[in-house]
């Protein structure tokens, strides 16, 4: 069903190895190196760590949502972030994207501290979030939705997106707001593709979608990941997310309650 499932057994087979290493406190670079061999065209950072959040505290108004969260996102990996509603998944992604400021803690991207970097600069440098709602410019046509991103990225050509999602080809003049939920997610991912992300964060990909459509989108994400893009998935549709993930974080009430190989969570 999910193409990444093919990878899952091999991962699971080797699963005990890398995760044991992680647990033992060895550097994550071994894990990254192992993964880089299975990917094409990946350009992992020198130490194999794409993003590192240390002691992250963030929230809205008087409410603190993340209470000192530590995250390490290895380069070129698929990282699943699981947790119930309100666990802080979306907030974590918004912190990584620069939409919610960190009150405490540091965020580094390939070794560079980006705690204070604006959301605009992060997206310009390829750290991209596809949010769970309002993921498209509803009042713009599909074509303009794609064009505006392609132009901002410096490559005003939308054919790669149309090749990836041929269904969008028939919808180009349509207002994005009048499309179905699944089509909108598709458009959102297509836009993300045009922005040429080096890190792609997707919030609740499967929310409100039929299993079939969700499966298609996961399939597409797997190909993106196979191209070397680091993918972070926050999702409740855990089977699919676990199926493609190299690493799983489970959040609970703004803290990390599990980290490790998906096989260990799935086969537990």
């Amino acid at each position: 069903m999910f193409p990444s499932k093919d990878r899952a057994p091999s991962n699971a087979g080797a699963g005990a190895g890398p995760s044991a290493e992680i647990a033992a406190g060895s550097s994550a670079s071994a894990l990254a190196a192992a993964a880089a061999a299975t990917r094409r065209g990946g350009t992992p950072a020198s130490d194999g760590i794409e993003l590192r959040l240390t002691g992250g505290r963030a929230g809205y108004g008087n409410v603190e949502v993340l209470h000192g969260l530590d995250l390490v996102i290895p380069s070129g990996k698929v990282v699943a972030m699981l947790g119930v509603n309100g666990a802080g998944k979306s907030t974590t992604l918004r912190v990584l994207a620069g939409l919610v400021p960190l009150r405490q803690g540091t965020l580094t991207w390939r070794g560079e501290v980006i705690t204070k970097m604006s959301a605009l600069d992060r997206s310009r440098r390829g750290l991209l979030l596809v949010p769970d709602e309002r993921a498209v410019f509803a009042s713009l046509s599909v074509r303009d939705n794609l064009m505006v991103v392609a132009e901002a990225a410096g490559y005003p050509d939308i054919t790669p997106a149309l090749d990836a999602f041929p269904k969008l080809r028939d919808r180009l003049p349509q207002r994005a707001g009048s499309m179905s939920g699944g089509e909108r997610r598709m458009l959102a991912l297509a836009r993300a593709l045009l922005a040429r992300p080096s890190v792609l964060m997707v919030d609740e990909l499967s929310l409100g979608l039929s299993p079939k459509v969700a499966a298609e989108l996961f399939e597409w994400l797997a190909t993106i990941a196979a191209g070397g893009t680091t993918v972070i998935l926050a999702d409740q549709y855990t089977e699919a997310a676990l199926g493609m993930a190299d690493l799983v974080y489970v959040l609970h009430r703004g803290e990390r309650s599990f980290v490790g190989d998906p096989a260990e969570l799935a086969h537990a």
């Binding site: 647990a23 033992a24 509803a138 855990t238 489970v250 803290e255 990390r256 537990a268």
Partner: protein, 738 residues
């Protein structure tokens, strides 16, 4: 019938209105902000332009360049950077943005009034030579011709930019969703800043073009600009050509009307119409056009302006605290009784103004509607009561003063009901504009009519044959204020109060659970208009006569801003706001209170909920600090840890997960080793909640290994614990927990 000369004369004002409309549309289309401050900025730029030409002797062209090429766009950039960007950053509601633009308006008017006074100046030179081109009846002023050319250039330029360029596409993306635009590498701030600069530049042009024609006064000129909102309402906030054509059409129509004259009862009304067509068109468009209902989204829901979540829970402690506050308030309000005669007279204004503010608390703080027309209702209350007293109210006998005040206020109710009915069906910006238009129309057609409002004086008040002295009148005012507070109190508590808060916070949600939204809003609106009428009646009695300047439309905006600043849902805030404004007007030069309210309004960006909420927050903060100081810090550590025990299991318990059936299924009699968990917990000084225990037990039954993550969450010092030992591999190098 159509006179060419009059049409060309009408073009002059129509063109300026169109230009103003273009500026408003650009700001709205690039930022999603309906800039109520447009008139304020126009006025400020015009004042500076006049200062440079008249006072400093700069040549006209140089002053024009400085004003329009530097000052006006600079103001726009400044506003974007300091006021509206922070609001957009924290995704402030449309209502908050509306209030911020009101704050800018009030601030700029306060600056003008503070620096140049409230008087009208008629010596502003026109930037274009006072000449005419063409011959005979077909000649047109250079001024008008240049404005028309400017409009044409602006329209073509904007049309090309919007539809043909990359920047235009970016603008539309930013307006659609600013946050998403930033996530898509679109420089939203730059787009917004350009939009603001362009909008304020056109505002500057509007001000400089209007000032020689209408005279320069802080309130007068901005009111003229505000009436040009008719143009953008007709354009439904989107179409540039419609806005331009509407502006020109109203200008021409207004001018053509002057060739006719009406005799009889409606003579004055008709004459007013020929100079106030923009106001009338604004009101008519807002009332008649059903499509305007969704104008500007949810801006009318002022929920975020209020800081209290629900009516008082009525715990004993709260009640005592409130009693103390009320008692302190009563003492403060009674203090003027011991003032000297002159000071007491000045204090007369406080309760009257407080009542008007209370009416806004009812309509904005409790039912969440933005009302910008309160001065109209207050003025009507004043006029009615004075007319009743003099026996000049048609159909009603002459009555004693006190009764006249009450009846006069009650007579505002039908008007509140009639105007409230269409108004409450409006939402968002449409509602704000509708209430403003009602107020402005009442001013123009009633308060400014010499026959109706000149020479209306308050008679001395009698109670049971005794003439009331100043102290007695102040006590009468207190009784009136008490009545207003009673109305607020009754609207705020119990079933009705809850329903009103529900309507304020989520109109659709309230309707969905069976709250009669429309009637509730109507009730709030009507009661509010009566309270405003009572305040107005007392206001005119404290000054001794009816004065239309006291109730002019701009006052509504100033008053609304003041109420929001001091906490839109706070009755106490309303009284403090009244005392604040009156005392500033007593102690400082004219216009200072406007300036002060404007400054406070801009601080709303940092103080959501107004000063009242900030004070509440401060009290809470001090109380917490004191509690920290004097109460033993007990059991601070466990809080975040206990929940995590239950929580780590929840991913496994997700019904959507593939393995959930196994995990959730009650295992055949196998129970998880809870004692181990208890031991770990005990070692760390924790207790398991019953909920966490039941979760552990349920989950552990089918899938013993699902308990593994518990270890990750409880890396106790005793690594020998069976659970921890079994799952040590799950610990990440970064450390499982802080």
């Amino acid at each position: 019938m159509v006179s060419v000369e009059l049409a060309i004369a009408g073009l002059a004002i129509g063109a300026v209105a169109a230009l103003s409309g273009i500026g408003l549309l650009v700001t709205y289309r690039t930022n999603g902000v309906l800039n109520l401050a447009h008139g304020g900025i126009a006025t400020l730029v015009a004042y500076v332009y006049r200062e440079m030409t008249v006072e400093w002797g700069f040549p006209v062209w140089l002053s024009a360049v400085i004003a329009m090429a530097f000052l006006a766009p600079g103001l726009g950039l400044l506003l974007e950077r300091l006021v509206f960007r922070p609001l957009a950053r924290r995704r402030a509601s449309a209502a908050e943005t509306l209030v911020a633009s009101l704050g800018v308006l009030v601030l700029s008017l306060g600056m003008c009034a503070g620096i140049w006074g409230l008087g009208t100046r008629n010596d502003t030179p026109s930037i274009f030579p006072d000449e005419r081109v063409g011959s005979g009846s077909w000649s047109i002023e250079v001024d008008t011709l240049s404005t028309l050319a400017l409009i044409l250039v602006a329209c073509v330029f904007l049309g090309v930019v919007q539809n043909r360029t990359r920047f235009g596409r970016q603008v539309r993306a930013v307006v659609d969703d600013r946050e998403l635009a930033e996530m898509s590498s679109i420089p939203a701030d730059r787009v917004a800043a350009v939009g603001w600069a362009f909008g304020t530049t056109l505002a500057g042009f509007t001000g400089v073009l209007l000032a020689p024609r209408f005279g320069l006064s802080p309130y007068g000129l901005s009111l003229v600009v505000l009436t040009t909102f008719a143009v953008i309402v007709a354009a439904r906030l989107s179409s540039l050509p419609v806005a331009v054509l509407t502006g020109l059409a109203i200008g021409i129509a207004q001018s053509e009307l002057t060739q006719f004259s009406v005799t009889g009862v409606f003579a004055d009304t008709y004459r007013t119409l020929t100079s106030s067509l923009f106001v009338v068109v604004l009101l008519v468009l807002l009332l008649l056009s059903p499509k305007l209902r969704e104008l500007g989204g949810d801006a009318g829901s002022a929920g975020r302006l209020s800081s209290r979540e629900a009516p008082e829970r009525g715990t004993l402690g709260e009640r005592h605290k409130n009693l103390i506050i009320i008692f302190a308030g009563i003492v403060m309000l009674m203090a003027p009784l011991f003032f000297g005669a002159a000071d007491l007279r000045k204090a007369f204004l406080v309760p009257a103004l407080a009542l008007i503010f209370l009416s806004l608390v009812i309509v904005t703080g409790y039912s969440g509607q933005v009302s910008l027309g309160v001065a109209g209702y207050a003025g009507l209350g004043a006029l009615f009561s004075l007319k009743l007293e003099a026996g000049e109210f048609p159909g009603l006998p002459e009555m004693p003063g006190l009764l006249a005040i009450l009846i006069g206020a009650l007579l505002v109710a039908p008007i509140g009901l009639i105007t409230g009915y269409p108004a409450i069906r409006r939402r968002g910006l449409a509602l704000a504009l509708t209430t403003f238009a009602v107020g402005a129309t009442v001013t123009v057609f009633v308060f400014n009519q010499p026959d109706l409002s000149v020479g209306v004086y308050a008679e001395p008040l009698y109670l049971g044959g005794w003439m009331l002295n100043d102290k007695a009148f102040y006590i009468v005012e207190m009784v009136g204020l008490g009545l207003g507070l009673l109305a607020v109190y009754n609207l705020h508590r119990g079933r009705l109060g809850r329903a009103l808060v529900a309507v304020r916070d989520h109109t659709e949600g309230a309707a969905a659970v069976g709250v009669d939204v429309r009637n509730l809003k109507l009730l709030a609106f009507t009661v509010s208009s009566v309270v405003a009428g009572l305040g107005g009646a007392l206001l005119s009695h404290s000054t001794g006569s009816f004065s239309s300047t006291q109730f002019e439309p701009m006052q509504s905006l100033l008053w609304f801003t003041a109420v929001v600043v001091f906490g839109a849902d706070s009755a106490v805030g309303a009284i403090i706001a009244a005392a604040f404004i009156v005392s500033i007007n007593v102690f400082f030069p004219e216009g200072s209170s406007t300036l002060a309210v404007g400054i406070l309004a801009l601080s709303l960006g940092w103080l959501p909920g107004g000063l009242a909420s900030a004070v509440r927050g401060l009290v809470r903060f001090v109380a917490l600090r004191l509690a920290d100081e004097f109460v033993e810090p007990e059991g601070t550590a466990p809080r975040p840890r206990i929940p995590s025990q239950a929580g780590v299991l929840t991913p496994a318990a997700q019904p959507t997960t593939g393995r959930s059936p196994a995990a959730v299924a009650p295992g055949g009699g196998v129970t998880v080793d809870l004692t181990a968990v208890d031991r770990v917990a005990a070692a760390r000084g924790l207790t398991l909640t019953p909920f966490g225990r039941s979760l552990l037990g349920r989950l552990g039954g089918g899938a013993p290994a699902a308990a593994l993550p518990v270890a990750a969450s409880l890396p106790g010092p005793n690594g020998a614990s069976p659970v921890t030992a079994g799952t040590g591999t799950l610990n990440h190098p970064e450390g499982g927990r802080p």
